[in-house]
């Protein structure tokens, strides 16, 4: 059996060595590059008008100009501040509410049902009401991000707290942990993975809300840049804005992954590799 196997291998190996193999990374890049080239050619030939979408070369040029002039940086900073500010408040409220209703029966009775009712309202549907209440200024924008991010954090952390293995709680009780120690050593670390799931959702939503609120009466931010570009039919700037949104989304997700790697170092998936 072993011999047959080794004979087969000897048969196969020389042919595999003779043929030059393209690295996967190059192959993976191939189709996007071909697409970009086709797009560029079509734009140059006039088949795709600039008001439908600008040529890749033009987008690249505009991007470079915007970076050099500092215009992009300025708008980016404003957007980032908005998102992080709203996210910070939303996550804080979500965590506080989840702790209150997760850790006490009375807290759950008081808090959970209103939270469950409110979470069914899409936060963007609140825009008309918020504009009436708070006007069209910065407050409304932040408030919308806050309402969007509070609930995913609340729901996941609450579920995380309630779903801790009761056997671990029992073990903690036989070890003589008091309530404070139980929360600190067992319940909070045990619910941390669920918290991170909620945080991921919240980030996605904060980004979505940002795109939306920055279309209302803004003078700075990526959303403003996109709206402005629309008025002047600058498809190159619109594409740049889309790029920025996706790159920032990826970056923040990377930050969360790194945080998880440290905070959840004990999880089998992290421990083993």
């Amino acid at each position: 059996m072993t011999e047959t196997l080794s004979i087969n291998k000897r048969d196969v190996q020389p042919t595999a060595k003779r043929r030059w193999r393209t690295p996967d990374a190059v192959l993976r890049l191939l189709s996007p590059v071909v697409l970009l080239l086709l797009w560029e050619l079509a734009s140059q030939a006039g088949w795709i008008p600039a008001r439908v979408i600008a040529a890749p070369s033009q987008i690249g040029g505009t991007l470079w100009a915007m970076i050099v002039s500092g215009e992009l940086g300025k708008h980016l900073l404003v957007s980032l501040q908005r998102a992080l500010f709203g996210l910070g408040i939303g996550v804080s409220i979500g965590v506080a509410a989840a702790l209150v209703s997760g850790l006490s029966r009375r807290g759950e009775v008081i808090l959970d049902s209103p939270m469950q009712m409110l979470r069914t309202i899409p936060s963007l549907a609140l825009v008309p009401l918020f504009i009436l209440w708070f006007g069209i200024g910065e407050f409304t924008k932040i408030a919308l991000i806050v309402t969007g991010t509070t609930f995913p954090v609340y729901l996941n952390l609450f579920a995380g707290i309630r779903n801790i293995d009761p056997k671990l709680i029992e073990a903690a009780n036989t070890l003589g942990l008091n309530r404070r120690e139980l929360i600190w050593h067992v319940i909070l670390p045990g619910s941390l993975p669920s918290f991170f799931v909620g945080l991921r959702y919240a980030l996605g939503i904060s980004w979505l809300a940002l795109v939306f609120v920055e279309q209302i009466n803004t003078t700075a931010g990526i959303g403003f840049l996109a709206g402005d570009a629309r008025d002047f039919m600058r498809t190159d700037v619109i594409v740049i804005c889309l790029l920025i949104y996706s790159v920032l989304g990826l970056l923040i997700d990377g930050v969360i992954r790194t945080l998880e790697r440290f905070a959840l170092a004990w999880r089998p998936s992290f421990v083993r590799n």
Binding site: K167, E170, L175, L177, H185, P189, V271
Partner: protein, 252 residues
């Protein structure tokens, strides 16, 4: 001579769920340093009894006295996955030299090299040894073992039997072992109690000299008697040649 009071005293203990009496007027004393094994079919009330002794369940009537210093090891290790082995050992222990105590306890169970390991990286046997260290580091007067070896492979189980006897001799807690395994009960315990319908159906004092093994004279007789009480019919015990020559030593 100082009067040594039994650390565990149960008088007419009743625990019922709905109309069903899971523990039905149970009397039980466990002497200091005594190793008691509790056998019984599923639903005989042995786990309920252990949970009451561990303080995880209440009783409905009767008297139950247990030492405050008690520890429990369950079938699953129940370690906190987010704490390293030594942190698990001293969890809830309020002493100044916690780390040193943890090192000592883990050394006793042969895990001095896994102090900083997360539970996810431990094998089943290693995790169960950490759980044992976590119990013993509290110097319990009563050690409760709820089928702690049931989930381990046969070889690991033999090693654990030896380890538990070694540690029991060193720390001298009273031990209550709940098990399904008749051989395990005879190998380890001073006294085997058979529980049936929440009452003690029978108890046997095992006075076989230690280190015990199933090939020992008298072992098979006790085994068939206990199996009979548990409703398993066994033909007359035959200590064959194979068993006599291939002796399995459960503990040194």
């Amino acid at each position: 001579m100082p009067h040594l009071e039994a650390p565990v005293q149960l008088r007419n203990v009743v625990r019922q769920f709905g109309q069903q009496r899971v523990i039905d007027g149970l009397d039980l004393d466990i002497a200091p340093g005594e190793f008691v094994a509790l056998l019984g079919a599923s639903g005989s009330g042995k786990t309920t009894l252990l949970r009451s002794l561990a303080g995880l369940d209440s009783i409905d009537s009767g008297q139950l006295r247990v030492p405050k210093a008690r520890a429990a090891v369950f079938q699953e290790p129940r370690l906190m996955p987010w704490k390293r082995a030594w942190k698990n050992v001293v969890l809830g222990l309020h002493v100044a030299d916690a780390k040193a105590r943890a090192v000592q306890a883990l050394t006793e169970v042969g895990l001095a090299h896994r102090l900083d390991a997360y539970p996810a990286t431990l094998s089943g046997g290693e995790a169960q040894r950490v759980a044992l260290a976590r119990g013993l580091v509290r110097e319990p007067k009563l050690l409760l073992l709820d089928e702690p070896f049931a989930a381990l492979d046969a070889l690991t189980r033999i090693k654990m039997h030896r380890l538990i006897i070694e540690l029991w001799r060193k720390h001298t807690p009273a031990v209550l072992l709940v098990t399904h395994d008749v051989d395990e009960a005879i190998l380890l315990a001073d006294r085997v109690i058979v529980l049936e319908n929440g009452k003690i159906a029978e108890q046997l004092t095992i006075d076989l000299p230690r280190a015990r093994d199933p090939g020992q004279a008298g072992f098979q007789a006790i085994r068939s008697r206990l199996l009979g009480l548990l409703g398993v019919e066994v033909s007359a015990p035959t200590v064959g040649l194979a068993q006599a020559t291939l002796r399995r030593f459960a503990h040194a």
